[in-house]
């Protein structure tokens, strides 16, 4: 059985975190989201994988290569123009039976097992209680339809997982002639089956969702301490990578994952659920809680950060404060209420003693001078002096 993974999109609603990286490569629990999908397939002995790439495809190819390091065999096909999910799938056209997966969700091993046990032309639905999202599965006159709607309370979301055969490509081809490039519209005309499951599946739509996705990924965390740990208190499922140094008097409360070559403390506090990538420096007397910190970030002495995401290679000065709380945001024309911390893109530079209000997004490569209080978003490359 072959699996086709769609991984060509940017994930626009996750900007600025996707400035240099497609959504599928964003790390949660110090691993790209796509890797969770690949692992779930491999653990079900599905080793023939086609990944449809597009936006920043080099990042994916560089990381996964031909798949040998991950115990699978990967082919890539390119979607040159990101027209839609059906168009993306069409790039991987084959004759036989296949499994479809989206590369930008965390997918558990059991999901794939259940998908394998379905008949052809079945999609997988899961309970979701998000306020608004694309891809709600409803039964309309006895037919399964994927609709776009907001709703009150729980609903069944389309997980992007499906079991099909070559026939679907013929249908896509016809529909594309009519200018229809998205999968839901096409599936709605096919008379598909729905299987609802409670297996592990989680998506991130907005940057603030990554914190929850990160927390979700850390549920699999185990205690594993490498590196050099000075006299510190380490409670629960905490993973510390090779060559990392934890300074004396540091308090770490799981679930926490710390990568390789990090330098943390002394006298710092890291509260779960938190992921810290490779090569991160967190200065003395800092407090970090429930956050996602990507590779090579530097955080100055005496900083505070809660419920936040910090993109790769960002530099935060001493006494940096990222507040957490309620905020109303507009993303791609949609209003969303978040109760969260801040988002910082890649390579941002932030001077000393900067305070950033809850929900604020700082773009990639932005530069913020010292002693600023930020209440509004800052665009990519913007200077605040």
């Amino acid at each position: 059985m072959r699996a086709i993974i769609l991984a060509a999109g940017e994930g626009m609603r996750l900007r600025p975190l996707t400035t240099y990286m497609p959504k599928v490569m964003l790390p949660v629990g110090n691993k790209p989201i796509l890797e969770y999908v690949v692992e779930a397939l491999r653990n079900n002995s599905i080793k023939e994988i086609t990944i449809v790439v597009g936006y920043k495809s080099d990042r994916i190819k560089q990381y996964f290569g031909n798949g040998a390091d991950f115990g699978v065999h990967i082919d890539y096909v390119e979607q040159r123009k990101q027209l839609g999910t059906a168009h993306a799938l069409y790039q991987a056209k084959i004759d036989g039976e296949f499994l479809l997966l989206f590369g930008d969700n965390i997918v558990g091993e059991r999901c794939v097992k259940e998908l394998l046990n379905t008949k052809i032309n079945t999609i997988i639905g899961a309970h979701s209680n998000r306020i608004s999202a694309y891809g709600i599965v409803e039964s309309v006159d006895g037919n399964i339809k994927i609709v776009r709607s907001s709703w009150d309370g729980e609903a069944i979301a389309f997980t992007g997982m499906g079991h099909f055969d070559g026939e679907i490509f013929g249908i896509i081809e016809e529909k594309m002639k009519e200018g229809i490039y998205n999968l839901p519209e096409i599936l709605n005309d096919m008379g598909i089956r729905l299987k609802i499951t409670d297996c592990e599946w989680k998506d991130a739509i907005y940057p603030w969702d990554l914190i929850e996705l990160n927390s979700y990924s850390l549920r699999r965390n185990v205690r594993k301490l490498a590196g050099k740990i000075e006299e510190s208190t380490i409670i629960g499922n905490v993973e510390i990578g090779e060559n990392s140094r934890i300074g004396a008097g540091t308090y770490v409360h799981g679930n926490v994952k710390i990568g390789k070559n990090c330098e943390i403390g002394p006298n710092s506090v890291i509260i779960g659920d938190t992921s810290i990538g490779d090569g991160v420096r967190i200065g003395a007397l800092s407090y970090i809680e429930n956050s996602l910190i990507m590779d090579n970030v530097s955080i100055g002495e005496g900083s505070y950060l809660k419920d936040s995401v910090i993109g790769r290679e960002s530099w935060l000065g001493v006494k940096f404060v990222g507040l957490s709380g309620k905020a109303r945001k507009i993303v791609e024309g949609e209003i969303i209420d978040v109760n969260s911390g801040i988002i910082i893109g890649e390579g941002a530079y932030i001077g000393s003693s900067v305070v950033i209000h809850p929900g604020v997004v700082v773009g990639s490569n932005a530069k913020i001078g010292s002693l600023k209080v930020l209440k509004e978003d800052v665009a990519n490359e913007e200077r605040v002096v």
Binding site: S215, L218, N255, G272, D273, T274, E289, N290, K306, D307
Partner: protein, 586 residues
Amino acid sequence: MCGIIGYIGFRSAKEVLLKSLKRLEYRGYDSAGVAIVDGKINVAKKKGYIDSLEFDFDGTLGIGHTRWATHGVPEDRNAHPFLDCKGEIAIVHNGIIENYMELKEKLIKEGHKFKSDTDSEVIAHLIEEHYNGNLKEAFFKAIKELKGSFAIVAISKNERKIMAAKKDSPLVIGVGDHENFVASDIPAFLEYTNRVIVMRDGEISELTEDFVHFYDFNGNEINKEVQIVEWSIEDAEKSGYEHFMLKEIYEQPFALDSTLHSLLSRNDMNFDFGRVTIVACGTSYHAGLVGKYIIEELLRIPVEVYYASEYRYRPNVADNSLAIFITQSGETADTIAAARKAKASGNETLAITNVVGSSITNYVDKVIYTNAGPEIGVAATKTFTAQLMALEYFAIKAGESMGKLSASHARDLLNSLRKVPMYVENTLNLNGIIKKEAEKIHKRKDMFFIARGMNYPIALEGALKMKEISYIHAEGYPAGELKHGPLALIEEDIPVIALVPEDITYDKMLSNIKEVSARNAYVIGVSSSEDVGKYVDTLIKVPSTEPHLSPFVNVVVLQLLAYHTAKLLGREIDKPRNLAKSVTVE
């Protein structure tokens, strides 16, 4: 349920006994009596409150009793203490002697004359039957023949000592200097000493001025340790408030703070269970229902809530369930029976109680103390909010230890609990507005309390408070159920108290309010949202809280509403008719 006291020492026994009984009045108050040794045993006893008990004799050794009738109607002759035929032995008793009929028949055959209808009187005659000049010996023999539950205190005119026995009813010893006390509860003697020894089931104590010895029912001596009680007698008195209930309502910010701090210092809150069964009675049952919403929300596991008196009819179900028992006094007979049953069925058990060392703590694996201080008013107030606090804390710690909550989420939730005393404090500032509402509604015969979700149990609790102290018929309903029946009862001007927290129930509550306003009910809205004012006759605007904390502020409003309504009606607020503080009969 009854309160008993025994004193031996150098003070005026009359003064000590009367003061102590006053402090035990919350345990029952339909009749009271004392027996004091002065060459002979003098007895005074009377139906009614302790204040109506008048007598001239005195001494330095005596016993007293305040009663809440179970066997025999409240009458002078059924009041304790009871004497034997010769008037040389006096006893007081709390509990039920199950085999008293059989013992009584036997004793009558031996020639004993009974003066009352009570089960307790047999104890005096039974001791007399075994008495050969040694009270201690006779007491041991008598206790061995008794079946049922009891706390018994006995004296003889010939010996300067007190004998006391405990089985399933509370008894504590107060250790003084050249004086000693025995009582049902600590406040009885707290004015004189704060050194306390809690008696366990199956123990007998022997008190003189200078020593207290403990034995098991077979006469083997036991060593017991003295505990120091930190709360002062002022804690147990009204400190300027007109009623204990009002005082206890106003103590809530402080009590909740002390509850929280005692909880935060616990480090043994690790759990692992697949489901939860909560068992309780009355107000504690309502706390349990709120607990259900909190636990299901945070742990995503099923929670069942039972009335303790109904739990016993449930077959033994082994279901990997943690059974939680909630009882303010720790002496509620139904709840204790349920705890024994749950344990026998192999469940893990946890008690939430306000009284350290109370009976329930002997029957469970783990205890969470609410530490709200003594509660005297029969209508529970501060112990209810303290129970909610304990349940919130329990759910968070269980969620964290079972990996259902991240360390950060658990931390946020615990931090939010720290704000509860402040929220409650701010709610108490609404007293004036609430009093005005009570003036508007206190003449009505019926009232409805409606809410949804985790505030539905608060509606039940609001209705219970109203019923028990104002004697007005009040019903709590899930707001969505109104149209399935009770709406037929809504008529012009009937008060409907609607709880409208700003959570997922908000919109639906507003439609339910429209349903009742359309029938011209008088609607009092309790909400943190100003907008609710547009839909109700009066808005009581409570502080805005995190969604899971709204029950704390809403219940305080309903407590004050019930209090002011009852006061306007001139009710006996601290001692409502037909009710006792803790119900130690099943």
